[in-house]
């Protein structure tokens, strides 16, 4: 527990939340207004889709390879091994296997936590 004096509290905390919500919504709203001008067959659309996928990929890999807190106590090779096994389940059947693959990875991670 961190001493309360270090924590932003009272009104300033709610003001921070208000600012954060405003900023987050602002980004969503800019997206809407820009999207009015963009055609889904255009070059800029293709480029932006690639940029977005790359951003999501960068975030995902960061969460797996360079996690903070509890996850960082799990060895990197275990994290990568579990990812590989889950992807194997995902690709093992041509039709959709998202939920089984997700469960495989989660259960493996929990089992590792129990066994260590």
């Amino acid at each position: 527990m961190i001493p309360a004096s270090n924590i932003l509290s009272g009104w300033s905390l709610w003001i921070a939340l208000f600012g954060a919500c405003l900023g987050t919504y602002f980004c969503r709203a800019i997206g809407v207004s820009l999207s009015q001008w963009i055609n889904q067959d255009s070059e800029i659309f293709r480029w932006l889709a690639a940029v977005t996928y790359a951003m999501v990929a960068a975030l995902t890999v960061r969460l797996i390879v360079m996690p903070l807190g509890l996850m960082s106590t799990v060895p990197l090779w275990i994290r990568i091994l579990i990812c590989v096994l889950s992807i194997a389940v995902m690709m093992s059947k041509p039709t959709r296997r998202l939920v089984p693959a997700l469960l495989t990875g989660t259960i493996l991670m929990i089992s590792y936590g129990v066994m260590r």
Partner: protein
């Protein structure tokens, strides 16, 4: 008919953007299909993430109203975590708002790549309300499904999908708040891991080569830029990888027969 029932077809053999026969009978049907699509993996992932967030709020001494309001009004997990982390270390409200906004920039391109796929009739001011339901989970599913949904039903499908994702995050946060400290470490590991795993798995379903290359490059540049500068790394890694992928596609792939664009 859901696409899960279809036999597997090599994506490179599919004709480009083939117009589909009606997948849904009505907007109502599309909306409920969206809800149903959300009720599997996306809800699991968001719920787990929000339980983790609720627990984080409780263990750091925030009250339940503040923690829950964050999920309700922001509905963007990475930004919510930044908000709590910075509030704990006593950053100023302005600094917090700016840092959170920076993490939310991904919504700009997510919206710009998703919303032009709606029917012209649906692209009006009401989208400024619907956009709050957009998060990474709903985006990933919509990008995957939209090509097989007729244009006029896409918004209803997205609304069903996004609404359930948003609504599930509130009980998730509250549950996490009350369970904090009681959850054994192995379960917490599972809860934390399910989020990145979901996105990793959805990448295997991305078909266009330009986006596959972008994902691969993003995986390489992401950690690299993170070491260079933590706050702007997503934006820079995304721009560099996406632009490279675009040019690789434009120069080499686009004219090749059999390559899905």
């Amino acid at each position: 008919m859901s696409s899960a029932d279809q036999p597997y077809i090599d994506p490179s053999e599919l004709p480009l953007e083939e117009p589909v026969a009606e997948r849904f009978k009505s907007r109502h049907d599309a909306f409920w299909s969206g809800i149903k699509a959300a009720a599997g993996a996306p809800a699991m992932v968001l719920f787990a993430g929000m339980v983790g967030f609720g627990a984080m709020g409780k263990t750091n001494g925030f009250d339940i109203w503040f923690t829950t309001a964050t999920s309700f009004f922001m509905f963007a997990l990475p930004g919510q975590v930044v908000l709590l982390e910075m509030a704990i270390t006593g950053s100023s409200a302005i600094a917090i708002a700016l840092a959170v906004t920076l993490t939310a920039t991904r919504f700009i391109t997510m919206t710009v790549t998703l919303f032009p796929q709606f029917h012209q009739r649906d692209r009006n001011r009401s989208l400024y309300a619907s956009v709050h339901l957009l998060a990474m989970t709903a985006w990933a599913i919509s990008m995957r499904e939209f090509h097989s949904i007729e244009v006029k039903h896409r918004l209803s499908y997205f609304m069903g999908l996004g609404l359930l994702c948003w609504l599930i995050s509130i009980p998730g946060t509250i549950l996490g708040y009350f369970l904090a400290g009681m959850v054994p470490a192995p379960i917490t590991l599972g809860l934390v891991f399910i989020n990145p795993l979901f996105f990793l798995l959805t990448f295997t379903e991305v078909k266009p080569w330009i986006n596959r290359i972008a994902i691969l490059l993003g995986c390489l540049f992401g950690p690299l830029f993170f070491i260079l500068n933590r706050d702007t790394s997503l934006l820079t890694a995304g721009l560099v990888s996406g632009t490279l992928a675009y040019f690789i596609d434009r120069k080499f792939l686009r004219k090749k027969p059999g390559v899905i664009a």
